[in-house]
Symmetry: C2
């Protein structure tokens, strides 16, 4: 099947899904059940992927991402059931009223249509993403990394059968079997069929999609996040937040990469914060002032460090002369994901939230909360760092569009 044929089939499926109502939840529950019932099939397919990846010399961290276990499959099924339990966004009236000429106007939520997801070698993404798309009434074209192809095939095959068992078109969920670069490029140009393309993965993947796609893209997951420790900060609180934001899960996009510390508190705060991080084996890369205070346990930072998402136990540290300096640094280097100020100053808290131009701006809390579940929005397909359509955690509601319904009695203009 060519991608265009897949796009056509998806468009037809999407027209059915748009009217499917509670059948979508039946399909989601059937998906959860079949993933659990056919664990062995999924594990066998995954074993083949793992064997090939090991043979090809894949790094242990990536092998771990690729691995399915009975627990992880249970987790996938649980995630799908949670999506099924959420409220159906489709048909919700967003706004409306009656115009002076008697026209009744409602803006209602409708599906986007066909969503493309390009992801890397994480087989759980297939189920997570398909569930969210389906809930919002969208058909989905999944294209995973070649390393996970057997796992994805098994998973999508099971999901398609489950969708069909609920009386919905199995082409609601399709897997692009060709994992070559050419197929990714073709997908990025599938105008007329793909309403939006969402890349899920590392910076390279996202950059390549943003640079090359002709279909609309939602950019997710680039997170060069900052904590700014203000002059008036509670130092123990700052240390707690920085520790949590850096070390609780360093590989995720809401982890921080740089801390900025006001000069007037640096001599007191840095030793506390530094000791905490060094104990957790975080490599510190600091500016000259940081190194004066903390000494040789800090690697000298270069310009590149301010611009790097380590996604690892490394943290850049910079002492700033003022809040303005901190704001300027963030404006220059942030990817617009999540930033935090630790402060006791009402004025600085307000100003930081007003001026920092990121999807989530915190006062006195860890950036790790930038997450659909933590924000009370339900499961998410990613954290949008762009400003159009969706910004921040993208849940089911961000996978919808709207249309205007107008009821008249012969009005003309």
């Amino acid at each position: 099947m060519t991608l265009t044929e897949m796009g056509k089939a998806a468009k037809q499926a999407a027209a059915v899904l748009a009217q499917a109502g509670p059948k979508k939840d039946m399909a989601l529950r059937a998906i959860a059940k079949t993933l659990e019932d056919h664990q062995e099939k999924l594990l066998a397919a995954n074993a083949a992927d793992l064997a090939a990846a090991e043979k090809a010399g894949m790094r242990p961290a990536l092998l771990d991402r690729l691995r399915l276990t009975p627990e992880r499959i249970t987790g996938m099924a649980k995630g799908v059931r949670e999506v099924a339990a959420q409220e159906d966004p489709i048909g919700q009236v967003i706004e409306g009223g009656v115009r002076p000429n008697g026209l009744e106007i409602r803006r209602v939520r409708v599906p986007i249509g066909v969503i493309g997801i390009i992801f890397e070698a994480r087989p759980n993404v297939a189920a997570d993403a398909a569930a969210l798309c389906l809930k919002a009434g969208n058909a989905v074209l999944l294209r995973g990394g070649k390393e996970a192809i057997e796992s994805n095939r098994a998973c999508v095959e099971l999901m398609r059968a489950a969708v069909a068992s609920a009386g919905l078109p199995q082409d609601s969920i399709q897997l692009v079997q060709d994992t070559s670069r050419a197929s990714a490029a073709e997908m990025m140009g599938l105008t007329g069929y793909l309403d939006v393309l969402i890349p899920r993965g590392g910076r390279g993947l996202i950059q390549s999609v943003v640079e090359n796609a002709r279909v609309p893209v939602i950019q997710t997951g680039a997170g060069n996040c900052h904590v700014y420790v203000d002059e008036s900060a509670d130092i123990a609180m700052a240390a707690d937040i920085i520790d949590n934001a850096k070390t609780s899960r360093p590989s995720v996009c809401n982890a921080i990469e740089t801390i900025l510390i006001h000069r007037n508190i640096a001599e007191k705060a840095l030793p506390v914060i530094g000791a905490r991080l060094l104990k957790k084996k975080v490599e510190l890369r600091g500016c000259a002032v940081t190194r004066e205070i903390l000494g040789n346990c800090v690697v000298p930072a270069t310009e590149a460090d301010w611009d790097t998402e380590y996604d690892d136990l490394i943290l850049a540290v910079k002492v700033v002369d003022s809040m303005e300096d901190a704001l300027r640094h963030i404006a220059q280097y942030s990817t617009g994901h999540s930033e935090c100020i630790v402060t006791r100053s009402y004025e600085n808290a307000r100003r930081f939230q007003q001026e920092v131009d990121s999807a989530a701006v915190y006062v006195n809390a860890s950036t790790r909360f930038t997450d659909g579940g933590e924000f009370g929005l339900g499961a998410e397909i990613g954290i949008s760092t762009q400003k159009l359509h969706a910004r921040g955690p993208m849940g089911v509601r961000q996978l919808t569009s709207s249309k205007f319904l107008v009821l008249g009695s012969g009005q003309v203009r």
Copy 2:
């Protein structure tokens, strides 16, 4: 100044505009006043454009679009004042609450940042678009057609001075002086500076931007709109609606291009509708059945007619066997702008609104109402026919984004 330099200046201006509050309305009122006070300057610049265009053999209809008159300038000023009078969307709380861990979360409306507008030889667009962008706290890069360059220069110069007089950066509004194709292409690739690009103009311009832009685009104005006359329609009402939707302003995007008529009502309805349109000098292009009923006053329609936005006094006419046929035709040929069913059937009215996938779906009213003002949304920058970010009339609110503000007391995850 290079486009990159303009982009940098715009970004800096945008940071100021994001915090500008009521100063934005002062700037807008100053713009309205200066356009009125310097009418002579605008008319002189426009006269130069008109002379050059006439010499180059521009068609009368396009010359008329290019022309400024005292009345049109007054209209521009009035439009800008209306935008100033609207509610400021920035800072509005969209949703929010307190999480179980005590985090207070608010999603608030913020500007998008820097908006690019590429438009054709209509000098009023510069003021209209700049006013809407400014109201929503965005800086704007305007790039008009080369035929209107003198008019746009004069207008933007006046607007920049007015913005400065209100204490805001004059680079909030900038005109791209280079009107070559190369500058348009450069603008489409200005990632990092342009947050969104909105083409305003004909199908060719929009298509070129959608195909080539690497910055996010909002597609506006493609309108292949339909009226479907159902079996149970009130024929007089159908004739009124079709007449209005075709002839009241044929060149705009919410005018209709094709009517579909149920076979069971065609023999009665077509003569009434046809007579009405022929009297208004509308050329009818019909299917075989239409020509059987109306005879040789109807030009035979070809496949291309179903796909054409005439933007002129031409209407394609097709007799369909059923509502399903009508829905299929619309799904195949519509650009997703506005469609209408004329019917007395409750069931068909509901089904049509549910199944037609367009920005505005009408029962028993003219498609000409698809307009920001008519919908009660205020002045609009265009009608979005895409599904991401904005769909339908795009007013000030659709020129905004949002961010999450989170207040904590040391929460970690």
